[in-house]
Symmetry: C2
Subunit: 339 residues, 2 copies
DNA sequence: CTGAAAGCGCTTACAG
DNA sequence: CTGAAAGCGCTTACAG
């Protein structure tokens, strides 16, 4: 690789390096003519400023580090895309790292980003992260950090997450209001905060509407396709099947679709399904999945905005935890009894 | 933000900065005892080396830049994930940038990555990229670059792409060998290289097997869900419907699924579908989509390996274009007549 | 309007 | 085994 430097341009023009540096940045010090000459040579040389050197002196990298558990979960892909977009609107670069749901990788990624002296960090912790040490380091260094989607308990950085409980209550209000009452829940694990919150939402909604919960209708098997499949099969054996099942996410819903098909039950005719999810994947389902819509773009954009606030140290009185509201979207996986 | 530097450690220990620098890197010059003392203080201070400064001197950033058109296309998410994995195995960091299928963004992203002095670049050009200027700059600077999935015509960097033509022929050989002969193709645009190559594969396979192509069975409407939907509806009007349709990708296949359902045709009973795609999304389909499998991980890993070669300047005699083979996976969207 | 001096945090090559 | 000197490519503060 061969890069030209400001010094090369300076020598060519027989002026000092400072003049070149200033000319390139359109500093008012420099005459219009000199600027023109400098820029001409820069163009000719294919000069690209060395951001590394620039950052060393300016102490600002204008770069945001993103730490994400896994891109194979398309929810995160969408969230990251929106962060990248929003960041560039604020003239920030982004550096993305992927932890693959592994605490060690996550730690290493954060260390690297600190090493690169990013100006701020957007992080979604991996499912298994338990050691708060790195985050305490971040706090000590006064690094602006915002958690999104999942937060690290016991740290006091700001966060942006979905309001699952209200989302669940709102969705079930709609469904129950439409004439349903026998509603089950395929939950994730209750030791994962998302699993816990969504299940609480389910319980609140049932209680609020004066409906009884059959304990046999709550199956907590996990967050993957297979878990949804297994849960449905288990439930099917009992012959005690609800009218509608609320699944903890879209992967579990997909497992239910597969299992129902296998045993010859038709969605939505024989059973209705609603899941936490987002519109793009819901459209992939056939019939399209009714969802408690968690818009990854709203989450990503909001997280970035909060980080910008933190970096600029403005608006001290903002809430520490920003809650993004969810919207119920009634698609084709539940029959509408009334209109 | 507050960072400790090597100088801070040096002052604390009343030694020179060089000693600290060497001790931290386990340089043989330094005594075991001194190393221990230095590392203790570094730990105590929460010292994180400034990679920016380090890179300035060493001229190596150990960082690879990735330029991707859009993460909302999960194919790229998977590819990127595998690149990140493979890179970290080689002790490289990755910086991801997303162009949103926009040539201007792409140009800006590449400029930034040059500015950050990444050691190499993995790029998938946006669909509309036409100006080769940035790439010529890259060539001049002797930057190692590898194109993946899509390549920029008229530049002579190495590339890693799928062998679509052989993939199509192989798949159709299987399908035709199973007793099918009336096969149509929902193609993309022929001015997009991927669209062209896949269509050529379709034609070759038909020809090779001595089958006639009904021109009415080739519909070139685009690469999105709606295009598949529209094409199917158009074909349906003609009442001249093939037994199997090969779609240019999985999004188009999804459109066909929706349209078929709407007009009351059942997949695979009434019509068979096979598409270019990859296994994770194929599983989302119901019935699961038969695919000409393009494994994004194999692509990503291969691209990274080639880049490593380029950066290390080894193996000069390797092919300039690495072709990844595709594998036909017979899922449930086509009935198997024989076993 | 132009430039000499000092410094950002690190490393390399050399001297002792 | 330890360190003084010089430099990476840039910017900032000051002088002229």
């Amino acid at each position: 690789m061969a890069y030209y430097t400001q010094t090369d341009i300076a020598e060519k023009l027989k002026v000092s390096r400072v003049t070149v540096s200033k000319a390139l940045r359109d500093h008012p010090d420099i005459s219009r003519d000199m600027k023109r000459r400098v820029k001409e040579i820069a163009e000719e040389f294919g000069y690209t400023p060395n951001l590394i050197a620039k950052n060393l002196t300016s102490k600002k990298t204008l770069t945001i580090g993103i730490v994400v558990p896994d891109l194979e979960n398309s929810f995160f892909s969408y969230a990251v895309d929106s962060m990248v977009d929003a960041a560039s609107e604020h003239h920030y670069h982004t550096i993305l790292t992927v932890s693959r749901e592994n605490e060690q990788n996550e730690k290493y990624n954060i260390q690297s980003l600190i090493g690169m002296r990013v100006d701020g960090l957007l992080v979604c912790v991996s499912q298994r992260t338990s050691d708060p040490h790195v985050f305490e380091e971040l706090k000590k260094k006064k690094m602006p950090v915002v958690f999104f989607d999942r937060q690290m308990e016991g740290t006091d950085f700001r966060s942006v997450t979905f309001n699952d409980e209200i989302g669940a209550v709102d969705a079930l209000d709609h469904i129950i209001g439409n004439g349903y009452s026998r509603i089950g829940h395929f939950a994730g694990y209750s030791n994962v905060s998302i699993g816990r919150k969504r299940c609480e939402g389910y319980r609140s909604a049932m209680k609020k509407n004066g409906l009884e919960i059959d304990p046999a209708w709550i199956l907590a098997a996990g967050f993957e396709i297979q878990d949804g499949y297994d849960s449905f099969m288990k439930l099917y054996q009992t012959k005690n099947i609800p009218e509608v099942i609320l699944t903890v996410n879209d992967r579990v819903a997909l497992g239910v679709y597969k299992a129902a098909k296998e045993v010859g039950m038709e969605i939505p005719k024989d059973i209705g399904i609603v899941g936490f999810g987002f519109s793009e994947t819901a459209q992939m389902f056939s019939p399209t999945l009714s969802i408690i819509h968690q818009d990854p773009r709203r989450l990503g954009t909001a997280a970035l905005e909060v980080l910008i606030e933190e970096m600029q140290n403005t608006k001290q009185d903002r809430p520490r935890n920003v809650l993004i509201e969810e919207k119920f979207i009634w698609n084709n996986s539940i029959i509408k009894k009334q209109h």
